[in-house]
Subunit: 154 residues, 4 copies
C-alpha cells in the first residue's frame, strides 16, 4: 500500500470542508500518495484560483519530505539557498510553511494532505484536526536539515 485510498482521501477532504464551512473560509484541500501524486483535490466555491496549486505543493512536500511542512521552516529560514535548490528538485515545489501534513500510519508513510485558503494558522488547524480524526500518526522526529546555529531562532 503506497497511498491513502480514494475513500480515505475523500473523508479527509469532507472533514476539512466541514471545518472550513464552520470557519467561514473557502479552502482548497489536496491529498497525495507516498510519491506525491494527487489522489484527490477540491477547491471550495469562492477559493482563489491559486489555492489548488498551493494546497498540492503543501501535500506534496509533507509526503516526500515525510514531515509536516511546518517542521521544514527552520531549515528554510536557516539555509534558504540550499533549501530553495532542494525545493525545485521534485515535480512540485517543496514548501516550508503551515498547512501541510504527512499521512503516516503504523510507522508507514502513506502520503500527505495540504490545505490553502485560510490564514496559515487556520490551514494548519484544519490539517491537524482531519489528521487526528482519521487516526493518522502525529509523531515525527525533528528535521535534521536545519543548521545548528538556527535552532534557537525558531
Amino acid at each position: 500500500m503506497s497511498g491513502p485510498t480514494l475513500e480515505e482521501a475523500q473523508q479527509l477532504i469532507a472533514d476539512a470542508r466541514a471545518q472550513a464551512l464552520a470557519l467561514g473560509k473557502a479552502l482548497s484541500i489536496a491529498v497525495v500518495d507516498y510519491g506525491g501524486y494527487l489522489v484527490a483535490l477540491e477547491r471550495m466555491n469562492g477559493a482563489r484560483p491559486m489555492t489548488p496549486s498551493i494546497a498540492l505543493a503543501k501535500a506534496y512536500s509533507a509526503a516526500v519530505m515525510q514531515r509536516p511542512t511546518a517542521m521544514l521552516k527552520n531549515w528554510s529560514s536557516s539555509d534558504p539557498v540550499f533549501f530553495s535548490q532542494v525545493a525545485r528538485m521534485g515535480h512540485q515545489p517543496i514548501v516550508a510553511t503551515l498547512g501541510g501534513y504527512t499521512l503516516k500510519r503504523d510507522g508507514e508513510i502513506l502520503g500527505g494532505v495540504g490545505v490553502s485558503g485560510g490564514s496559515p494558522e487556520e490551514d494548519q488547524a484544519v490539517c491537524e484536526s482531519v489528521i487526528a480524526a482519521a487516526g493518522f500518526a502525529t509523531d515525527f522526529p525533528a528535521w535534521a536539515g536545519a543548521k545548528q546555529e538556527a535552532n534557537g531562532r525558531g
Copy 2:
C-alpha cells in the same frame, strides 16, 4: 460565474467514476474553471500516478482552447512544431488528444473536464457521457488552426 461550482464538478466526477467502475477501469478525472484552474480532481484506486496530471492537462486544454481536445488533433499532427510551442504558453501543457471536453452552457465557456487512465476511446466516451448527462453543450465550431493539407488525415 467563471467556472462550474464545486457541486457541479463533484457531479461530473461521480458520473465519470460510475462509468469507470462499469468499464472496470481505474481513471483520474479533473475539472477546471474558465481560466484552467482546478476545481476538483479524483484518482480512483489503482489508477497510475501520472493520470491526475494527464487528466488536468486535458481539462486545462479544453478550457483555454475552448474546444474538446480531440478537435486539436489535426492541428497538432499537421503543424507539430508550432503546436508544441503554443502548448507551452500556459500554466499547464496543452494537449491534443481524446479525453478532454469543454464545459459550455448558454454559449458561455465555464471550464473543462479531463479523463485519463483508460484507452483514448474510453476516456473520450466517459467525457462525452458525463457532459451530456450534465446538460453541457456539445456543439463547437471546427478548429481553424489545422493546416489545409491536413484536413484529409482525420
Copy 3:
C-alpha cells in the same frame, strides 16, 4: 462573464493614460481577465521596454490572488522563501508591490489592472483612480498569509 469587456479595459487604459500625461510620466497599463489572461495592454511612448511585462505581472497577481498587489507586501516580506515559490506557480510571476488592483464588482472577481513606469506611489495612485472612476469595488479583506510577527512592519 469571466472578465472585463474590451471596452471596459480600453476605458481603464484611457483613464490611466490621461493621468500619466498629467503626471508627465510614460506608463504601461495592462488589463487581464479572471484567469489572468490579457484583455488589453498599452505602453506609452517613452516607457521602458520591461514596463509591459511588469504591468502584466501586477494585473495578473491582482486577478489570481484576488487582492490589490499592495496587500501582498506583508506576506512577501515576512515569508520571502514561501512567497517566491507561490509566485512561480502561475503563468505569470505573482508580485507583491504597489500598482496592481483587482477588478471586483457586485462581489465578483472580474480580473485585474496593472500599472508600471512611474514611482511605486504614482503607479498605485493611477490604479486607485481608474478603479474608482470605473466604479469597481475597493473593499478587500486583509491578506491572511502574512505572518503574525510581521504585522507591525507595514
Copy 4:
C-alpha cells in the same frame, strides 16, 4: 526611433479589429517594438484566453527575426531541431507560422505585428492588410536559414 509609436500601434490594432468584425472573428492583435517588447495588445470580446500569448509570439518573432513569420516556415520544417533551439533563445517563443508581420519602413526595422484567433489564412490576411494600409514595407529577402534540400518543399 526603435519602434512604432503608440498611436501607430493603436492604428494597426484598430484596422485589424475592423477587419475581424467584418470577418465575424474574435482576434487578438499584438504590436511590438524593434526589440520585441509590447507596445500595445488587444483581445476582442470572445477571443480565446491563449490568443494574446500567441499573437505576442508572432509579433515578437517577426520583429526579432526581421521577417514575416510565414518566411520562417521552410526553416522550421527543414531543420526542426535547430529551429526549436533558436525558438527558445529569446524572451518569447519564436514561431514559424502565418499571422506575424515585420514593421519595416525606409529600410529600418521598427517592430512587428501579430494576429491570432482566426484561421491561419485569416490571421495572415489581416496582417497583410493592416501592414499595407499603414504603408509599411512588404519586401523582405528570402530566409537563408532553410536547408537547401528543403527549398522545393514549401
